[in-house]
Symmetry: C2
Subunit: 225 residues, 2 copies
């Protein structure tokens, strides 16, 4: 019991300190008119592929940047740089999620004139959901091969996101995945979720997702103008 | 810095206490001749589907049981019970991995005459790798749709496992996945990994995996006889 109590106190400390730093980041982002989008998902759900595709669609009209969170390697940042976007790698060396203090450390490197700052979190459908990074939008990705039973098994990520992106929808013909079931279940957890069905391979749903992001940016700029 | 130090001390406490309890579980399992297999993977890699299929293959000749670790819901345990196997659900309510103390709590319910005790960990390729559950074998699953770049991005699970099970290999025709690359990379992290290419849909590789498990059980029984 004594240990459990100690653990809970330290966890409270961590989350409290994270919230404070996230609040400071949020203020800076709003001041500069940057819409930061935090992407959460299991490993291999297609976060980097989605960013490559929407990056190519948005980059002619907007200034974009990507923060890549990974336990090890710079593989994802390298993929983003290949399509001509700036990427900042945060390698956590074991930690299973990004925390606001990790972003704060590299924040000086982020140009103040960005429009969109995408933050690809560590591949983990659990822990990243507990850590606010000061983002303007949180998006959870669920890929068709992961199965349609996931929202209620991993509710926190769905509860704290504003956007649900179903990915790899081109694989629907080959897999038992009930799209209606998964959307219904996700909306039971969080009725405010905006849902997009996408495929980075066929391009399905990407125009709709980009249009939504552009509209969100516009609205926020007018709010903070 | 003070907080970081406190966090590290608590983490050491947690891991130390986990190691002690895992050691006790390991002794009990060996005494009863039970081979416990801890299954680690990302959400939706096919842990439950694999267990359903190898459960059906092994259940006529062995006594089996399954511990299901999930953040929420008893969905996986229900699937296992449907094929006639006993299943014990551990619902962690937020915790992203199983710990030895969670198993210790339900250990009295596990029949002492089991041959195989499968432990399906929480769907998370990161944190479960740090927690020994007293298992005799640790197995990491990687599904083809997750992509062939995962071992070096999530090295701990591959480093601490004895078995790598590639799952959903029936999807290889539809996805860019270099099997040789992923095996080479996994073996660079851990040259002792025994690798199986499987599909719960077509049955590929399941006989080989079951034969391996039977042989492991036989060897351990002769060692502890």
């Amino acid at each position: 019991m004594e240990q459990k109590k100690k653990e809970l106190l330290v966890l409270e400390d961590i989350l409290g300190s994270n919230k404070k730093i996230a609040g400071e980041i949020k203020k800076k982002l709003e001041k500069h008119g940057i819409l930061a989008v935090n992407l959460l998902s299991a490993p291999g759900s297609g976060k980097t592929s989605l960013l490559e595709k929407i990056g190519l669609k948005l980059k002619d009209n907007y200034r974009l940047g990507v923060i890549e969170g990974d336990i090890e390697t710079e593989r994802d940042a390298d993929r983003i740089r290949k399509i001509g976007l700036p990427a900042w790698q945060i390698t956590t060396h074991g930690a299973c999620h990004l925390e606001a203090r990790m972003l704060a450390k590299i924040f000086d490197q982020i140009p103040a004139d960005l429009n969109f700052l995408f933050i690809e979190n560590v591949g983990n459908l659990v822990c990243p959901a507990s850590f606010d990074l000061g983002e303007g939008l949180r998006s959870v990705l669920l890929s068709v091969p992961e199965g349609d039973d996931k929202p209620k098994k991993y509710p926190e990520a769905f509860l704290t996101s504003q956007v649900l992106v179903l990915t790899k929808c081109d694989l629907l013909p080959y897999l038992p995945f009930d799209t209606d079931r998964v959307i219904k279940e996700a909306l039971e957890i969080n009725p405010h979720l905006k849902v997009f069905k996408t495929s980075a391979t066929t391009g399905e749903g990407l125009d709709e997702l980009c249009a939504f992001l552009e509209e969100e940016l516009k609205q926020r700029l007018s709010q903070h103008a």
